[in-house]
Amino acid sequence: MRDVVAEERLPPERVALVDLLDRLLAGGVVVTGDLVLSIADIDLVRISLRALIASIDEDLEGSAGW
């Protein structure tokens, strides 16, 4: 296991946000129609990446908590 860091089920607050967003923004069941806001209406990935990048400098300093 020399090259592997196998993280046992981490508490949700410890999971890296970037790994989480991979899954929350590109995974899961997508429902359309009858919604308050359809995720298909907005480019959520673009928006969130912009938001992330805008705040990345300050936040990455303490990246251990991500």
Partner: protein, 264 residues
């Protein structure tokens, strides 16, 4: 302003208790058609269309909401097979959620059957672009068993003239060569891991500005693995590292990457 219904996940079983959800709101369940939807009642002034368009631009809000959503999904998935629903899925009311469960029960049950007894693992592979990578160590359970094609070697390597030309070409196209080696290595790792998994998915490589890593992410894979094969899978992932490649494994995750389907 009235309330709306925020949907986190769908499963077959109801948990006796569930952690708080988005905006620290309590999570409850809606049962219908043999399925259980995990939901929160949310105020439209925070989760209406206009508010969401604004909030999604706000990093702190996004991070907090993503973690809260994940917290609920993770708790449910730890206890029972679960189909996570994508972040920020908000209905006008519970009746719409019941209607969804009624209409799409078969689809949900099919997805839940697929993930039952399996867990999602993430495997990320990194390389230093300045160094490049080798074809990788030989591994025993090497997927379909074919040797990984070594870059640059091959047919005419033994003949001196050819070797010279190859070296010259390699130096001219070094960067392209390294790129190709890295892609081959990534394909090799992904194939070998996919052979041990019930399903696999390659996410886009993470932006270094988000991951904080400035080396090259050659693979951002997700693998749906039978629970009994977790150890074998982790071992194989470890064995595929080295020779210029660092492997990092995350998980187990709720099966986010294997419940992707669009339903109206």
């Amino acid at each position: 302003m009235p309330d709306a219904t925020y949907l986190y996940a769908v499963a077959r079983d109801a948990l006796p208790e569930c952690p708080a959800g988005v905006a620290d709101l309590p999570v409850r369940t809606i049962s219908r058609a043999g399925l259980v939807a995990y939901v929160s009642t949310v105020p439209l002034e925070q989760f209406g269309e206009q508010a969401l368009r604004r909030s999604l631009e706000d990093m702190d809000w996004l991070a907090e909401t993503a973690r809260a959503h994940h917290h609920v999904v993770d708790a449910v998935a730890a206890a029972t097979p679960t189909a996570p629903v994508r972040l920020v899925t908000v209905y006008d009311d519970d009746a719409h959620v019941r209607d969804l469960l009624d209409r799409r029960a078969d689809d949900f049950l099919r997805v839940l059957a697929r993930v039952t007894g399996r867990r999602e693992w993430g495997v990320k592979a990194y390389a230093d672009p300045a160094v490049g990578v080798g074809p990788g160590p030989r591994t025993s359970g090497d997927g379909n068993g074919e040797p990984c094609p070594g870059p640059g070697g091959g047919a005419g390597a033994g003949r001196p003239g050819t070797a010279y030309l190859q070296r010259r070409r390699a130096s001219l196209r070094g960067r392209e060569q390294v790129r190709r080696q890295v892609l081959q290595r990534a394909d090799h790792i992904h194939r070998a891991l996919s052979a041990l998994a019930a399903a696999s998915y390659r996410h886009r490589a993470q932006d270094p500005r988000l991951s904080g890593r400035h080396d090259w992410m050659l693979l951002n894979g997700a693998y749906l693995v039978d629970e009994g094969r977790d150890a074998e899978f982790a071992e194989q992932a470890a064995a595929l590292g080295g020779d210029g490649v660092e492997i990092r494994m995350t998980g187990p995750w709720a099966p986010y990457s294997f419940t992707v389907m669009e339903m109206g």
